[in-house]
């Protein structure tokens, strides 16, 4: 390893060092605020390293990593989201009497895993990153072990993620057996011959790898775990699951699929098209049946990654750009939504049924306005980033002439309006409408008023959503410059 390699991996090193630092501090002084502040400081420090990394242009740290501007952009995105999750976790965990410091070590480790994935250029780093991310997440999902649902969700996630890892490993082994290499550039070179997935081993291997990634992205038919685990996990962890742990897989999948030419392997793209359509329709239709906000958001995330796959199928720089921009808007909206859920949840349960939100506007206009904005962005209404994100997806799809996918996208988005609107309507209907809602909303009386750090973070994210919707040009220009290589 040369000094320039170390420089390229500076954000990763800082995050790893912060994890160690938090661990050391906990062993001498237990205070969750100190741990949280240290975590946030570490994440900011890692983000502050990005300019130095960026200037070290597209350097490979061979053979495992490739730190290019595309990876750096996503490192920045993941670190920002992690800061928000840390802040939400702090206020959420304040409500519990338990050892809370360790949560931040786990959080930092899973962030490290996600960061490794964003620069992975090799099956080994892909797998290591994924495991680091998942193993920490098992514990984070079940962190509030006094809650039955949380433990159940943790165990479920453990089993399913372990099964996925097995798929992924087997797929990698098959590809290695056929091509004799595990590095993405070499795989691309081998496949560049033009005869595509010539052998059944190679085809099976690719399908298994994509299936493994599909599980993490929770696209149909690998989506079964999503609602249960979203519902059972503590709300900040759900936010993390829905954003960071998915985005890093998107990045690695974009890199991996860039090796496959759509003309050479039509079967693969056909499969992705089917998965995308199924995800959009299943996610949106099943969300209609839910009464639980976390489950609604779970199904909606299935649909959103279906939308995102449209950009994958479209491919090329336009596809990568649309996917990246969509991720950014999805991040902001999802973090705001789960942030509100985390903030409103009392210590004995999650505030996650639609009934909990009835009349929220009248008792707490702040969180209600933020949650409405987030939901409108997920619908894709103009003014919010969600509209621009969908607009670019449609643009990329129309350029690639993917009319079937676009039709499904339009129809399923129209369906989605209904269930998002249900939550919004509940928030704005007055409390007197139903007598029992008074006592339902009583637990909210104990939550502190807005105006603390959580409120500030959420307000910033919401502002970001509006900026993305009204003046996306700066972000767009940046994304365009980092996705040029696709």
């Amino acid at each position: 390893m040369t000094p320039s390699d170390l420089q390229a991996l500076l954000p990763h090193i800082v995050v790893a060092a912060t994890a160690v630092a938090v661990m050391l501090v906990i062993s001498f002084y237990r205070n969750q605020t100190v741990s949280a502040v240290l975590t946030v400081a570490g994440l900011f420090a890692a983000a502050a390293c990005l300019p130095f990394v960026w200037s070290a242009e597209a350097d490979a740290v061979p053979p495992l990593f490739r730190v290019d501007p595309f990876g750096c952009f996503h490192i920045g995105l993941l670190l920002t989201a992690s800061v928000a999750v840390t802040v939400f976790s702090h206020s959420y965990l304040e409500k519990y009497r338990m050892e809370r410091g360790e949560f931040y070590i786990l959080l930092l480790l899973s962030v490290l895993g996600a960061l490794v994935l964003t620069v992975a250029d090799h099956f080994i780093s892909f797998f290591l990153g994924l495991e680091l991310l998942s193993v920490s997440l098992y514990v984070m999902v079940a962190y509030i072990f006094t809650k039955k649902r949380a433990v159940e969700a943790g165990v479920k996630y453990l089993f399913l993620a372990a099964a996925t890892s097995a798929f992924l490993l087997f797929g990698m082994a098959l590809i290695y057996a056929e091509l004799g290499t595990m590095a993405f550039p070499e795989i691309a070179a081998e496949l560049g011959g033009g005869d595509g997935l010539r052998s059944p081993y190679l085809l099976a291997g690719t399908v298994l790898v994509v299936a493994g990634a599909g599980f993490k992205l929770s696209v149909v038919p690998f989506h079964m775990w999503t609602p249960d685990i979203y519902q059972g996990a503590p709300a900040p962890v759900t936010a993390f699951l829905a954003t960071v742990s998915k985005a890093c897989v998107v990045v690695v999948l974009l890199r991996f699929l860039a090796a496959f030419d759509s003309d050479a392997v039509p079967g693969l793209y056909l499969a992705l098209t089917v998965v995308a359509c199924a995800s959009m329709l299943t996610g949106n239709l099943l969300a209609l049946l839910q009464d639980n906000i976390k489950r609604i958001l779970a199904y909606s995330s299935i649909a959103h990654f279906g939308y995102l796959l449209v950009a994958f199928v479209a491919g090329g720089p336009a596809g990568a750009m649309a996917a990246t921009f969509y991720l950014v808007t999805y991040f902001a909206a999802t973090l705001v939504a789960f942030g509100v859920v985390a903030y409103l949840s009392p210590s004995d349960r999650e505030a996650d049924t639609v009934a909990d939100y009835r009349g929220l506007f009248w008792s707490r206009p702040g969180p209600a306005a933020l949650l409405s904005l987030a939901l409108f962005s997920l619908v894709g209404l103009p003014l919010t980033g969600g509209f621009m994100g969908k607009f670019f997806l449609v643009g990329a799809g129309a350029e690639a002439r993917l009319w079937t996918l676009l039709l499904v996208l339009a129809v399923s988005s129209a369906i989605s309006i209904y269930y998002y609107l249900r939550v919004v309507v509940a928030m704005y209907s007055s409390i007197e409408d139903t007598p029992q809602t008074r006592e339902l909303s009583e637990p909210f009386a104990a939550t502190p008023p807005y105006g603390n750090t959580v409120g500030a973070v959420q307000a910033l994210l919401a502002l970001g959503l509006l900026v993305l919707g009204l003046y996306p040009q700066p972000v767009l220009a940046m994304i365009q410059s980092v996705t040029r290589t696709f």
């Binding site: 506007f361 009248w362 206009p365 409405s372 409108f376 209404l381 103009p382 003014l383 509209f387 607009f391 670019f392 449609v394 643009g395 129309a398 339009a410 129209a414 309006i417 609107l421 309507v425 704005y428 209907s429 007055s430 919707g469 009204l470 003046y471 996306p472 040009q473 767009l476 220009a477 365009q480």
Partner: protein
Amino acid sequence: MNLTESSTAFSFLSVLVFAPLVAAAIALVLRDERRVRQWTLLATAAIGVFSLFLLRGFEASTAEFQFVEHREWIPHLGMYYTLGIDGISLLLVLLTTLITPFCVIASWTVVKLRSKEFMICLLIMQTAMTGVFTALDFVLFFIFWEAMLIPMSILIGVWGGPGRVYAAIKFFIYTMAGSVLLIVAIIALRLETGTFSIPALMDQPYDRSFQLWIFGAFFISFAIKVPMFPFHTWLPAAHVEAPTAGSVLLASILLKMGAYGFLRFCLPITPLATIHFAPAILWLSVAAILYGGLTALAQSDLKKIVAYSSVAHMGFATLGIFLLVHHGTIGGALVMINHGVTTGALFIAVGIVYERVHSRDLARAAGLGRQMPIFAFFLGIFCLSSLAFPGTNTFIGEFLVLAGAFETSLILALAIVPGIIVAAAYNLRILQRVAYGGTKNPDHSGVADLGTREILLLTPFLVFILWIGLQPGPFIGLMEASIQNILDIVARSSGALNP
């Protein structure tokens, strides 16, 4: 048309569009609800006065867009921040800026709960409405168009009557359905021409079948907003449940957007399809006039009567526009403005009745005129205006439309006549019941006549009703050139088809 050339140094329209938003941000910080009300009134009144300066710089003899601003917005996708107005949008912008202060006054005492949020919604609405009438980039237009949806749904759904949630959802879903088609048409036009600029899209030789599709998408989207006859069912629900200010905004401004869409997009962008579909639309408009009038006659809820009369009036507007002859189209555009003034005034009057007797039922309001002679005077003028009595504004507009209809087809013109008679019937019915009542009126002994605030609120409407009615020349003069230009585009394209 080169838009950059005419850019002015001072961004008049941007100020007009975004001033309400800035006012809303300031209102957000104010603590006292009374202060918020005073501030909102001050801000909207100042914007109203400021907007009148548009008249000084406006050149009425040309159809070019004026006060144009052209800036980069999202150049990557060819979207620009372009604002500008012609004669048609000028009057609608003025209508918007001048009506909003009266919405604030009308909600002064009625909105008790969360009046700060109410005022903020009103201000956001004003930004979006002004934006719709000034945007010259299709995506910008669409964003303003959609931006109205949320605050308007909230106005209905939060501060409305008992069935407000149902009405708000119905409004939201209808409008949303129209918007989806609109965005599809915008993207299709972009794929065909490579631009989002509205002036650049006008008067282009598109393929006939392409025009038919685009027109279809535009038509459904705008017909929902107008609302035209088969798409009107959201309107009575929304009007009845909305608070007075919401009803006024809906009737005076929002309904105009559909007709504005016809004039701004359907006619100049898809002229061939316009000619193709115009006969069908004319008969739909006649259906709206008759159906709206007859349904209004059968209602006992005052707000419903006015709501259905809106359907009939807007039928006159679309009828005039699609006659595609000089008198008719100008008449149609004038009906839009007149309807904004008259119906806005009638909704405020209904609100005043509701505040006093806590019911909008015609029977409960019977005989109010004895206790409220000043109110009866105002209501009388408003009802006469609504039935197109000579000397009032509506007469001029509907007369021009009728004249145009006679030019086009005698059967069509004769078919409208019953609609005019029905309009007289339902308006006189309101006037007779409310002003005089029968032999057994409900007890109104505790009811007070109009206060100073209410007289100040209603007088400007009265002034405009009589002004447009007695001297319509300046109003028509402002938009004549722009409308003639649109009609020329339509005539040219049909001429190119049959030389």
